[in-house]
């Protein structure tokens, strides 16, 4: 085991001293944070050029309200700040009412207006059917545009039209609109967390606003941390083994150590490297959250301990598989096709995590989180959801992962022993399986 330790030490030093390690250490949070920062930065970067919309009001009921509402909107809603700092942050709506007589009937009218949108004369157009006030179910309002993602105008126009519609209908039916508004006034349902009793004073705390961050983003972040450890730790291991095989370093080493020791050393080295990375990130997250006044978002000590355990097991399990692949293949092309099935297992949590976060205690979630290739990520995900997990589940999960890790390490050891000296023969899953079972 001393030899495995010497190998591990060399691997660790070589990895931690490399520029790639420092770059990854800095780049990973930037990549993850970059998406959020990018959205935040671009949020205000809206195109503020005014937008023209064509409106055909066949019911002849809405021209006045829409015009007035647009004027009000353009005066009050599109600016930010006051006085000299007043700044236009949204486009103004400029409405062009088309004469229904002139424009004709659909589909001809719809086509003509679509052409105008295509020529960029207007941004979109609204067609209000004749019978919309009667509300017979057939008549309606339609909005056409080239970009259905930007729904600002559609939602604004919808709300103006519906308000007016209610007013007209109340008038026709002889209902006092203020009565109606009281009748249909909805009640807001607040989203709050649980309350606690303070041990010392015996007082019951005020409920806090339920924090979506704590429920979704913190668990997801921890899961991604493990996923990243596998990607940045275990994947380069495959490359390193492949390079050592190609550069014939392996045989030099095999003159001094047994293949299994060599592999264990490499695994231990990389586990130490990812652990270092993890500790840097955990410390970084702790101080960042503290500083931002969100210390409560930082996961509890037991979650952190489980996280470290599961990420170490995950790196060992996937690392062993990637080492085996590195030893069994001859070039990057073969490596990529051999990696596919392993990657698929590593991706399972990515497919199901949203469901697991929403239903952490469902049978399916428990089952997913006890499926060893997915356990490290999904168990940590469930553990970090504030509702928690019964203790037997992470214990069983870690035992199952440990068992799988041992199986993977032994299988990989056999593949490694034979593959590392094998040169030139194409990769075949059947042959590699033969190495595992025949030894």
């Amino acid at each position: 085991m001393v030899k495995a330790y010497i190998i591990a030490l060399r691997e660790y030093r070589a990895a931690v001293r490399s520029k790639a390690f420092v770059i990854t250490l800095v780049a990973m949070p930037m990549l993850m944070g970059g998406a959020i920062v990018g959205q935040l930065l671009l949020k205000d970067q809206v195109d503020t050029a005014d937008k023209r919309f064509a409106i055909i009001d066949r019911s002849e009921q809405f021209e006045k309200v829409l015009t007035e509402a647009a004027e009000a909107y353009n005066l009050t809603q599109i600016f930010d700040g006051a006085g000299s700092e007043r700044e236009k942050v949204k486009p103004a709506f400029i409405l062009q009412f088309a004469d229904p007589q002139q424009i004709g009937e659909p589909p001809e009218s719809t086509f003509n207006l679509s052409e105008r949108v295509r020529k960029k004369e207007v941004h979109g157009f609204l067609e209000i059917d004749r019978g919309v006030v009667a509300g017979d179910g057939k008549a309606g309002v339609s909005y056409h545009s080239q970009n259905p993602v930007d729904s600002t105008f559609r939602r604004w126009a919808g709300s103006v039209i519906n308000q007016e519609l209610r007013r007209i209908r109340c008038e026709r039916e002889g209902i006092d609109i203020s009565v109606l508004q009281r009748v249909v006034l909805p009640v807001a349902v607040e989203d709050l967390g649980l309350v606690e009793r303070d041990e010392a004073s015996g007082e019951i705390s005020q409920p806090e606003d339920a924090n979506v961050l704590a429920f979704i983003f913190v668990p997801m972040g921890l899961m991604m941390l493990i996923f990243m450890s596998i990607m940045v730790g275990a994947t380069p291991l495959m490359q390193a083994v492949m390079e050592e095989k190609q550069a014939r370093i392996s045989e030099v080493l095999l003159g001094s150590v047994q293949p299994f020791q060599l592999m264990l050393g490499k695994l231990a080295g990389i586990a130490a490297v990812t652990l270092t990375t993890m500790l840097v990130y955990i410390a970084g997250a702790f101080f960042t959250l503290k500083r931002l006044g969100h210390g409560d978002l930082f996961p509890s000590v037991d979650v952190v301990l489980w996280l470290i355990l599961f990420q170490t097991l995950a790196v060992l399990m996937y690392g062993a598989l990637f080492i085996a692949i590195g030893a069994a293949v001859n070039d990057m092309r073969e490596a990529q096709s051999a990696m596919m099935p392993v990657m698929l297992f590593a991706m399972v949590p990515m497919f199901v995590w949203l469901y697991v976060v929403k239903e952490p205690d469902s049978t399916a979630s428990i089952a997913f989180s006890l499926f060893p290739p997915a356990t490290p990520m999904l168990m940590v995900l469930r553990l970090s959801v504030p509702s928690g997990v019964p203790l037997w589940q992470p214990i069983l999960g870690s035992l199952l992962v440990l068992l799988s890790t041992i199986v993977c390490v032994f299988a990989a050891g056999r593949i490694f022993r034979i593959g590392i000296l094998m040169q030139g023969e194409g990769f075949s899953l059947i042959r590699v399986a033969g190495w595992v079972f025949r030894g």
């Binding site: 060399r10 070589a14 370093i249 392996s250 045989e251 047994q258």
Partner: protein, 306 residues
């Protein structure tokens, strides 16, 4: 004690028998040459001695131990295909290899060897900055740094220029003086002939000859004539027609004649003088190459030259 004893070792790769029922024992403190053409099973045998490969049948005893449990710290190995961690510094790398063999004094030993092989100034340079010859010497040091009792060198001189070949050759001889048993493989039979105390010749996975060089050559008698015949360019056919001559090996400026059993050498000399002016006539023992060709058959002639 024989540092390496092999009994009936056989190794197959699929349908190919790489080593077939091999038996040999390497005498202590000697240079033991493992010769044969490429693909004759030399490297496989060396890897079995090192326990990198396990024989399908047979026994291999190294430094008295038969166990496959541990790669032996008392054995040094220089593989044919060489590789070093490119980004490590030379000294760091050598200390790593020494540590793998359980030595803590890697630094002083490494320094001594680096100085001896003319690499003293390169100790703190990265491996990637070394020339090919230099990195081969560093690789050699990595094999010997832990003062092995048994040193296994797989084609140690392949790819080295004459100057570096000489440096390594001197180092090997010095190690033998210090009591190291050296087992080395080569397909260069002339070199083996010059350096080895004992030789094992392999061909197609089998041992074809084994013993000290003298004993092997004695077995094949003193039946070779090395000849330089002026005006004899291109007349090797004439030479072959002399009844005393069994086989002619024409090197251009020099011809090597293998004689029939009990051929009269004086008679032969007289006949040669009839063909041209004899500038050199030397009665000698057959070379390893010649012995190999005789054993392996005429087909092996090309292989032996390869």
């Amino acid at each position: 004690m024989h540092p390496v004893e092999i009994e009936g070792a056989t190794k197959r790769f699929g349908d190919v028998v790489a080593v077939n029922d091999l038996a040999l024992s390497v005498p202590e403190k000697s240079i033991y040459g493992f010769i044969g053409p490429n693909g004759s099973g030399k490297t496989t045998t060396l890897r079995m001695i090192l326990r990198i490969l396990h024989p399908d049948a047979g026994k291999i005893r190294v430094l008295g131990a038969e166990s496959f449990a541990a790669a032996n710290d008392r054995v040094g190995y220089l593989p044919e295909e060489r590789g070093l961690y490119k980004t490590m510094r030379v000294m760091e790398l050598l200390q790593f290899f020494a540590a793998l063999k359980g030595r803590r004094d890697g630094r002083s030993e490494a320094k001594r060897w680096l100085d001896e092989l003319g690499l003293g100034d390169w100790a703190n340079k990265k491996v990637e900055t070394l020339s090919k010859g230099m990195s081969q010497k560093v690789q050699f040091i990595a094999a010997v740094i832990a003062r092995p009792e048994l040193l296994i060198l797989d084609e140690p001189f392949a790819g080295l220029d004459p100057v570096n070949t000489d440096v390594i050759k001197r180092a090997v001889l010095e190690l033998r003086e210090r009591g190291t048993t050296i087992l080395f493989s080569t397909h260069d039979m002339e070199l083996a002939e010059k350096m080895c105390d004992s030789i094992c010749m392999m061909y197609k996975g089998r041992k074809v000859i084994d013993g000290t060089l003298e004993a092997i050559q004695d077995d094949f008698g003193r039946d070779v004539v090395r000849l330089r015949l002026e005006d004899a360019m291109g007349n090797s056919k004439d030479l072959a027609q002399i009844p005393e001559v069994e086989h002619v090996n024409d090197f251009g400026r020099l011809q090597e004649l293998r004689l029939e059993n009990n051929a009269d050498t004086q008679e032969l000399l007289a006949k040669l003088m009839g063909i041209g002016t004899v500038r050199h006539f030397e009665l000698s023992r057959p070379s390893l190459r010649d012995i190999f060709v005789r054993i392996a058959g005429p087909d092996a002639e090309e292989i032996a030259d390869g």
